[in-house]
Assembly symmetry: C2
Homo-oligomer: 211 residues x 2
């Protein structure tokens, strides 16, 4: 039985909100035992039910800034006054152990990851099947004004403009098809020679027996 050691990879899923990315991410985590969700560090206080170290690593602002200053974060962003970031150490651990990490981040976070870990990244952009479908999903809350909805549509359009920064593009028309697309991308990427770190030794042994 040949077991080739491999280095894990970082699977990034990005999309405009309303494209179905969160559903796809959750399904992948359920189906594939070899990939875990990246756990972010945040200065936001825990919400009821959130567990430190599972949902987030909850830290104070000084600690967050220290981590940032010491280069311990692979990417970070501030949203509505709260800071979020990806700690490098757990990611490094997972990759070295041959486990994959899933990132549900936007194009800005992806660009930051690219600066630090481009070889380990597998970047997937999820597009909605049409403006109409996306619009319908963004209009779910009936109380929102037409102005708010128009703002969301324009924001989605801006996010979509970043799809050329991704290697793979999935048009999420049908969930089953999209689930399979992501699973197959992950499987194929695991078969890349550069990720199969045990190959050189495996081949050397085989050649020693053949020669």
């Amino acid at each position: 039985m040949s077991h080739i050691e491999r280095r894990g990879l970082m699977l990034v899923l990005s999309s405009p909100s309303g494209a179905g990315k969160t559903t796809l991410a959750r399904h992948l985590l359920e189906q594939d035992g070899g990939i875990d969700m990246s756990v972010s560090v945040t200065t936001r206080p825990p919400r009821p039910g959130e567990v430190d170290g599972r949902d987030y690593f909850f830290v104070g602002k000084p600690e967050f800034h220290r981590m940032e200053a010491d280069g311990e974060l692979l990417e970070s962003a501030t949203v509505f006054g709260h800071s979020y970031g990806t700690p490098a150490a757990p990611v490094e651990h997972a990759l070295a152990a041959g486990r994959d990490i899933l990132f549900d981040i936007d194009w800005q976070g992806t660009q930051q990851l690219m600066e630090r870990r481009s070889d380990d990244l597998v970047k997937v952009f999820v597009l909605p099947p049409s403006a109409e479908v996306l619009g319908r999903r963004l209009q779910t809350r009936a109380s929102d004004s037409a102005e708010v909805i128009a703002g969301r549509m324009a924001k989605a359009s801006g996010e979509i403009s970043h799809y050329p920064e991704y290697e793979y593009v999935i048009v999420n028309e049908d969930l089953d098809t999209s689930h399979k697309a992501i699973a197959d991308i992950l499987h194929a990427e695991r078969l890349k020679r550069v990720r199969q770190t045990g190959l050189a030794g495996f081949v050397r042994e085989m050649q020693a027996e053949l020669d």
Copy 2:
């Protein structure tokens, strides 16, 4: 229903003989309606049952040399006095029409394809699970001398040394697992942004509706 036009790709399977590549290739062609086997041109006379244009394009030596001189072949090789090559025109047609082409060629042919069509190539190397299994497969003909068998093993070892020139590596331990590996690589590669030539137009239309 969103149908994104795409450019086809060239899937190359290489391996030492005895690794099971031909079985894998045949299965893929049966299972996947979007990929065809590349048809080579050859100066070898047809064998009984071989059909011109299906198994090979049969040509005389002068015509083969003319094609070679005019740059009409993507790769070529001479084996036991007969020349073989891949005509460029049918490949170009297929790729432009969004169909994929399967190549069952060695590392030398792959290197030649790389010089001409690197962007379209998806290179997969198939390894046997062990020297023992490979040896068993190479010893099938009981009439061969120990010397002939040793020569085949050494040749296999030389072929295996070229695996670092390939993007993907499959250790063919179990046929079902390997079938799925190749199918998933093909599926993932079809989802690459650069191959989905219709994406730019698709996104432009969507954005026009969102803005």
